[in-house]
Amino acid sequence: MSRLGRVRAQTSAGWRSFVRRRTAVFFTFFFPVILIAIFGALIQTDPTGGGLFAEPAAYYVPGYLAVVVLFTPFSRLGSEVARHREGNRFEKLATTPVTRGEWLLGQTVVNAAIIALASLLILVLVVALTGAEIVFSPLVVAYILVGVVCFCGIGAMLGSYTDSQDGAVAASNAIGLPLLFLSETFIALEQLPGWFEPFVNLSPLTYFSRGIRAATYPDAGTPAVFGVDPALANLGILAVLAVVTFVLGARSIPRTD
């Protein structure tokens, strides 16, 4: 059993805990529905005119997916870490064979399952409600999984470095919202002031949205990275960032007081 068994035990407990919080389940899936209804409706009012939402519907698919891939791990991991700390669960876990990495991996698997379902819902809704014409690439699955790993790592850090559940949720909103709009999700880089570019390039979500766009909407003209196909290159960059944030996130989880 060992490592696999411990991750399985962690995942099973995490999944059961999640599905038994009815409001959490409802709003996890209701959030993207609202989002697409509002943004889809806005976009469809003026698909080719000026303003912020002037691109074709398919352009915004990475943005819709980014909402769940970014915010779900941020808020869930942030508050889960805070809840564990407040209930002395980490003190207990520190005296068992489970490692911090295994704990975070178990939580990441639960988040990946939730976000995969929400993403499927988003893709169905975005096509049905906005008429987006997208390519269904298997790379989308890879982006979602790697993105979840990346943002679960950051979510763990948010939970570890804030002192309460409230603090973790507030921090995840304060960091998540700017990231969402400064990562070429809904707003193209050209529409932002030039000095935003370094910040945009620092955001892991930028590589998620660029890569998803390259994979699902080839007409967007996503630039290649050092001559490599942008759908693959951005996945590679995101994967490197995911490893870094996962390791940092796992190390941030408290083992001692």
Partner: protein, 339 residues
Amino acid sequence: MNAVVEATDLHKTYGETVALESVSLAVDDGEVFALIGPNGAGKTTLVRALTGTTVPNSGTAHLLDESPTAVDRSRLGVLPQEFSPPARLTAQELLEYYAGLYDESRDPETVLADVGLVEAGDTWYENLSGGQKRRVCVGSALVNDPDVLFLDEPTTGIDPAGRRTVWRLIEDLAAGGTTVVLTTHDMAEAERLADRVGLLADGSLVASGTPAALVAEHGGSSRLTVEPTAETTLDEVASSGTLSALEYAVESRDGTLVFEDVSPADIGPIVDVLEDEGLEYTSISWAEPDLETVYLELADGEERAQTDRRSIGVEPARAEASTTADSTGTQEANPEGSQ
């Protein structure tokens, strides 16, 4: 006997607060060691230092001959003090979850039965009563059949019948060779379960030894306490010629008359004398000293000393010498001024 839990000169501070001061102790294989002491005495910090979940500022701790953070965790069971596991798992699922973290574990259903919760196995943790919750938490520390078990206030919030279930469980584990370190505010629990008891006060281990040795050393004598009716002037009675003629120390204390070092056979003659004196009383009670007497003697003394120091604006002084609890079952040292 080999010491499986060992602390040497542990110091731990949280900012200005001294949590542990020169604490040394050794717990032998298969022994049950109870830590008692007032709130904030350092019991939980000591358990954390011994289990590797806090890092002492200085001193060393060893668990099964290893550093606490390096020990094989499958041999260790820990119940933290204010532990709150995932609320929407059932009692059975919680034990399965914690059992799943070990390569080898006990059957969670058996553990559930051991803590007396078979009926509540399918109830979500958040819907259990306070005592049932604590029993599930105790169970979570037992799922791996540990060699060394740390229980930080295991019976807090548990009703008397449930408490006895947990006591029997701990006794069975000890009989099977498990080393147990527990903290408690329940002196009956410490007296019943512990081979040795350590009393922490203000971060220092002020006394340790077998319950009987501690009682003999610090408990004083057996006492007969007479509670007179309100009209009686105790000081006059205590100093009356007839009572003074008795061979017992008599004093008026907190509205009662206290006769020291009275054997059960002496109660009758004392009652006769009281009646001869015309003393009207509402109750008479006789008690042998117990661990609670020791606790009140040592811990209250320490607390009063602290209060006095604070009230005159003097920084708390520390015991000059560390107190060492070894495994001989005898008390090694006393706090200054604790007598």
